[in-house]
């Protein structure tokens, strides 16, 4: 039995040592390698100024063409939209931006059915994994009770989120392989025409969105003007009048939900515009809000 336990301990020690060194290696790769996500990018940059910044989900990432904004207005622009991103995710990004001394003149936050959501998404959490020692990240995770116990087990955190921060991404970061897309500009348009996945907005609205309130507080008494906007949806989506309720909660909301009600050719699917639609929508925003 003694030798057996010795053997087991040897294997366990080897495993723990490997985990320790892998954790160090992965962390180094994500912190110092080529940024391959918007979060990684933000955490590697410092002291940046943009005239306009957009935050939101895929309806920001795939709809706001920053290059077009810069071309037509001369304003520098960044799109921090992340597919599937929640207001909670965006709040962390905004706080990280503040801590990294990013400054903006105008910040646009996309709001729709996500008014009702609370917390951070799994994908976003996965992207934060290499940066859990960052005080802002740590604080926010604690706030959301996401202070996972396994954060303290070396490398386990990378294993749990291997899809996002696994060996492929770590190696690509380390070898400084860039993404096919420009993550600093952040615009990832959809191609094609369709109106599938109509879905439904919620029937009822929550009393308040603590995260949107925190965003308002974050930019209160600063030189940054925070504005909320809603991107177009196809008219087939159910309970679209949910946005009227949001408008009551956020009186200054720029609601473009019905902008393309008669322009089916601008949709990739019910919730997303295609590249042509994104271009027209961006121009509309320029006309209305950026001149």
């Amino acid at each position: 039995m003694k030798n057996f336990f010795k053997y087991l301990i040897s294997i366990s020690v080897i495993t723990l040592l490997l985990m320790f060194f892998l954790d160090k290696g992965y962390s180094y790769a994500f912190k110092n390698g080529q940024p391959r996500s918007k979060i990684q990018n933000m955490l590697q940059l410092k002291n940046k100024h943009y005239d306009v910044a957009f935050f939101g989900s895929s309806r920001t990432e795939k709809h706001i063409n920053c290059e077009l904004i810069t071309k037509l207005t001369g304003k520098s622009c960044v799109n921090f939209g992340i597919s599937g991103g929640s207001p909670g995710d965006m709040l962390i990004l905004m706080k990280l931006a503040e801590s990294r001394k990013f400054t903006f003149n105008q910040v646009f936050m996309q709001v729709d059915y996500n008014y009702n959501s609370y917390g951070i998404t799994k994908y976003f959490k996965a992207n934060l994994i290499p940066f859990t020692d960052n005080p802002i990240v740590k604080k926010q995770l604690l706030l959301y009770k996401e202070e996972f116990f396994y954060r303290r087990i070396p490398f386990y955190r990378f294993m749990v989120f291997d899809k996002v921060v696994g060996i492929r991404e770590a190696t690509a970061s380390f070898l400084k392989l860039s993404q096919n897309t420009n993550i600093e500009i952040g615009f990832l348009p959809k191609q094609g025409i369709g109106k599938a996945v109509a879905g439904s907005f919620p029937e009822t609205i929550k009393d308040k969105s603590p995260e949107l309130t925190q965003m308002q507080e974050l930019y209160k008494d600063t030189n940054t003007k925070l504005e909320f906007f809603t991107a177009p949806y196809c008219k087939e989506v159910k309970n679209r009048n949910f946005m009227d309720k949001v408008q009551l909660k956020l009186p200054g909301l720029h609601n473009y939900i019905d902008l393309f009600d008669n322009k089916d050719e601008y949709f990739f699917n019910c919730g997303h515009l295609n590249e042509a639609g994104a271009g027209v929508f961006t121009k509309t925003l320029i006309e209305d809000l950026l001149k």
Binding site: M1, I11, I14, L22, K163, V164
Partner: protein, 477 residues
Amino acid sequence: MLFNSISFLIFLPVVFILYWGLFKRSLKLQNIFLLLASYLFYGWWDYRFLALIAASTLVDFFVGRFLQKTGNEIHRKILLGLSLAFNLGLLGFFKYYNFFIESWIDSWSNLGVEMQVSSLNIILPVGISFYTFQTLSYTIDVYRRKIEPTSDIINFSVFVAFFPQLVAGPIERAKHLLPQFSTKRIFIEERAISGIHLILWGLFKKIVIADSCAIYVNAIFDNYENMNSASLLLGAVYFAFQIYGDFSGYSDIAIGTGRLFGFDLMRNFNLPYFSRNIAEFWRRWHISLSTWFRDYLYIPLGGSRGSKWQQVRNVFIIFLVSGFWHGANWTFVIWGGLHALFFLPLLLGDQNRKHLNQVAENKSLPSFRELLQMLFTFGLTSFAWIFFRADTIVDAVNFIKRIFINHEFELQYLSIERYNVEMLLIIGIFVLLEWFHRHLEHPFTGSFKWVKIIAIILMLLTLGVYSDQQEFIYFQF
């Protein structure tokens, strides 16, 4: 409880320490403890189905006892019939009820008669196909007077529910496993260490090979209409490795875990993809099920005795039943039928008992002929796996049709954001590891033992799939 879960990582050492520490002095207590641990292990999924295991255990225990007491052949036949009816009835109800109802409605519907028979929302109890076959083998062997029935209900209960092999085998025979519960267990370090090696190797097969392949397989099979010929071929190959890694990985962990508790479970896989023909493949794939069907179905049907026609009939029966055992879907029946067809030329040419040895014995590399034979056999099995994996026969046929009509063999970027060929590298490493250790049950031997252990742990940590963890495929059977 899954072998590749945190709960099992806690469960196993706790049970191990209590078993060898607290209960070491009493065999009875060790067995009672193993029974409770096994029920806890099973109940972790759904405690309600423990009643089924308990019922199956009680029925076969008492049938065994009564079989011993009576010499009357008619009574013995009735008792055997009772056990068969109960166990196969359980299996039939939980696994096949909806299938038969739906097939019945469909067949009438094809004749233009619409029927309204409601199907039931039945959950398939995990492992039911495995433990019912295990208890059945006990009753049949007692009936055939091949073994003496046990009078110890605890021993029999733990034989049925022994947690390492409860949910996906190996399907043990009473003759082999039951006596081990009556024998005082001695902790043998070498055996326990070999158990750890098998667990490690099994985890590698499951988490690195099977679960990684699963990501590609799902992307390809779920979207086969948009795949090119190369991706479809690779999809079939990946599934062959997924199911092999998944099931043989489970078996390795089961056997390894058994060894930690002083038990010897039968080998369930013996490098099936190094087979030179289909007959050899079936001597190496899911051995405990193949031999079960051989002993309790094929031989009673006449086996290889009788006319060629009878032999062919027996081969088709055994393969079709084996297919149907895997699941209530015609795709499994077709899979079984295909294997019967592949087996047929060997049977007719009296080639089915060829290749009883290990391929390239005493050589490091196979001959060109052996290589071609292995590739051909692998091709046949991979082709049949398409039916096994596809949701419907139509999907399988369309999948195969597209391989031949698409004619595009370039790299394809899949929805999982990976190229279709990427998995081949890991599979290549795995095949080489298996090949160069083909006379062993795992690769952790020799002067580079520790290098290999470290490499496998490193691969487990970095290449393993944890966020997309898959259940073991055979749990559904």
